[in-house]
């Protein structure tokens, strides 16, 4: 029993890392623009297909992996510049509409370019149990990759001038503009980073759930739940929330509701957080003056 629980917690951390990355990508866009990117999952799936295409073309895994991250970054920046820029002050319905449209377009693009059959995705990590049999090689490797990504993002925002400028642009666009920060490009950069993080998450989850155009829809849901649980305006909170959702999902799936209702668990978390503590665990309470 106890060993089972540890096993579930460990693989919860492994999948939680993936939710944490997607949650981080969501929060990045939310912080800067107050939009929730419903197309985040499809964008990540598309990036994963690009990786697979390059691997099939004969490139070594890690080369394909990094190239795909760069391509995703460019796509993210392009989407922000072309589609999102004009909607900066549009009503919520317009932004939701455009995100849903984007979801549909990218989803069909994946299906059209790479067909709808379910594909296997290679893992660069050894295929044997590790850490005393608690984790598979891939789970351990993907957790490591996620942690590295999260550390890089943290270092970038904390210790580089560009990171500081991006935080400033999200926090107070008007003042940032006055001191010479190019706010528009900072938002585009945020989109690019979010797309790149999504690409990493896609490549890490694809060997587990297999690759098809709808691969990320469930994962996006867990990421939403994670982001809300941690506080949708707090990157650190979102990451912790992602890990927590991973653990809750695994424990709940194993001992509480069974694997068939795992997605419903995410729904319950979302509703519970939004009704009981809408700011999440680490979010800032926003007051508006009327």
């Amino acid at each position: 029993m106890f060993a089972g629980v540890i096993h579930q917690v460990m693989s919860g951390i492994a999948t939680g890392g993936i939710y944490a990355s997607v949650a981080l990508a969501l929060v990045m866009i939310y912080q800067a623009t107050h939009h929730v990117n419903f197309a985040q999952g499809e964008m990540a799936t598309f990036s994963t297909y690009i990786t697979l295409m390059m691997i099939n073309a004969g490139l070594p895994y890690w080369v394909a992996f990094f190239l795909a991250i760069i391509v995703s970054f460019v796509i993210g920046v392009a989407i922000e510049r072309i589609l999102m820029r004009p909607l900066a002050n549009a009503p919520v319905l317009s932004s939701v509409g455009v995100f849903v449209g984007l979801l549909l377009v990218i989803n069909s693009l994946s299906g059209w370019l790479f067909d709808y059959t379910i594909k296997q995705f290679p893992t660069p990590f050894p295929d044997r149990p590790m850490l005393g049999g608690y984790l598979s090689g891939h789970e351990l490797g993907s957790t490591a990759v996620t942690l590295i990504v999260l550390a890089c993002v943290y270092a970038f925002f904390r210790h580089t001038r560009l990171g500081l400028a991006m935080r400033a642009a999200a926090y107070n666009p008007a003042s940032s503009r006055l001191v010479g920060v190019r706010v528009g490009w900072m938002l585009a950069l945020g989109w690019g980073l979010a797309a790149a993080i999504g690409a990493v998450a896609g490549c890490m989850v694809a060997p587990i759930v297999f690759l098809d155009p709808n691969m990320m829809s469930g994962i996006l849901l867990y990421a939403f739940a994670g982001a809300l649980l941690g506080g949708i305006d707090n990157p650190l909170g979102a990451v912790l929330g992602g890990f927590m959702v991973g653990i809750i999902e695994n424990l709940g799936g194993a001992y509480l509701v069974g694997t068939e209702l795992k997605l419903t668990l995410a729904l319950v978390i979302i509703v519970a957080v939004l009704t009981v503590k809408p700011t999440g665990l680490m979010g800032r309470r926003v007051f508006s003056r009327v």
Binding site: H34, H35, V36, F38, L83, P86, L87, A90, P91, V92, L93, S94, V96, G97, V98, V100, G101, L102, L103, L104, V105, I106, N107, S108, L109, G111, W112, Y116, S217, G218, L220, L221, F224, A225, L228, G258, E260, L261, K262, L263, T264, A266, L267, I270, V271, L274, T275, P278, V290
Partner: protein, 343 residues
Amino acid sequence: MSMKRGTWLIAVVVLVAAIWPAATFSSYHLFQLTMVAVYAIAILGLSLLTGFNGQISLGHGAFYAIGAYTTAILMTTWDVPYWATLPASAAVCGVVGFLVGLPALRLGGLYLALTTFALAVAIPQLLKYKAVDAWTGGVQGLVIDKPDAPFGLPLSSDQYLYLFTFAVMAVMYVIAWNLVRGRIGRAMKAIRDHALAAEAMGINTALIKTGTFAVSALFTGLAGSLGAIAVQFVAPDSFSVFVSIFFFVGLVVGGVSSIGGTLIGAAFIEFVPNLADAVSKAAPGAVYGVILIATMFLMPAGAGGLLASLWRRLTARHPAAPDGTAAQGGPAAEGTATIEADA
């Protein structure tokens, strides 16, 4: 045009729209038109909630599924006649909608969209759940019989089903029409436009919002029942998140707060995939997506809003004031009276 002549015109158009296809169309085309009527009711429900009350739902496929399953279960497990399942499913969906509406009270625009989206993603899993598969038929779903025309009417079952669905649709439009133009409708719109001001004017915001959610779910659930009868089959995987997304697409393309526009939206989501399917399997989604984005940029009030403002320009005695509502993507509700006749 006097009100009386307008009403006459609408009555004639409605009768022609009911009888002409039933008399002349092939059964496949009749089935398509039946589905247009079904989607129209579903999108009408969504329009009441999103267009007239400002609560964005990306999860109305869930209510559609609940309505469809209520009808299918009643018909297969308890042998209830098809027509008697409609009030039952309306009641079930109304109650579920009310319950979903309660937490929705605390969620502003984006969060509600997110939560309902989560509901839409989760619903197929709930329908497959083992504890209920004695009723729901699990992954296989349920097959139901197509009703025949009653009283020995000389109609094929497709003809009868079309007329039946059309009649229900007509009733639902009249209800929605009166709801929106009455006191409650004004309260709904006031909450959408400025919740705080609405509350200050003595509108019970919580009651109206949850009530609207219930009515909206009732409409969409009823559409689900009619859809299940028309398709004669329900299964969890036919109620994926894309059903909800397609309703949303239809709503936006038709015009979020345009009663008549919902018909355009319904025709759009029924016929565009058929046309696009000829190109490739992926084409319908891409076409939907591109048109959705284009609508948001080019005509945020949707086709209904556009037609309504054109009509107003045509019928205006003296040059109308610049039409701000269409340009802002805001409601074009006042103009919807006139486009009913276009459908």
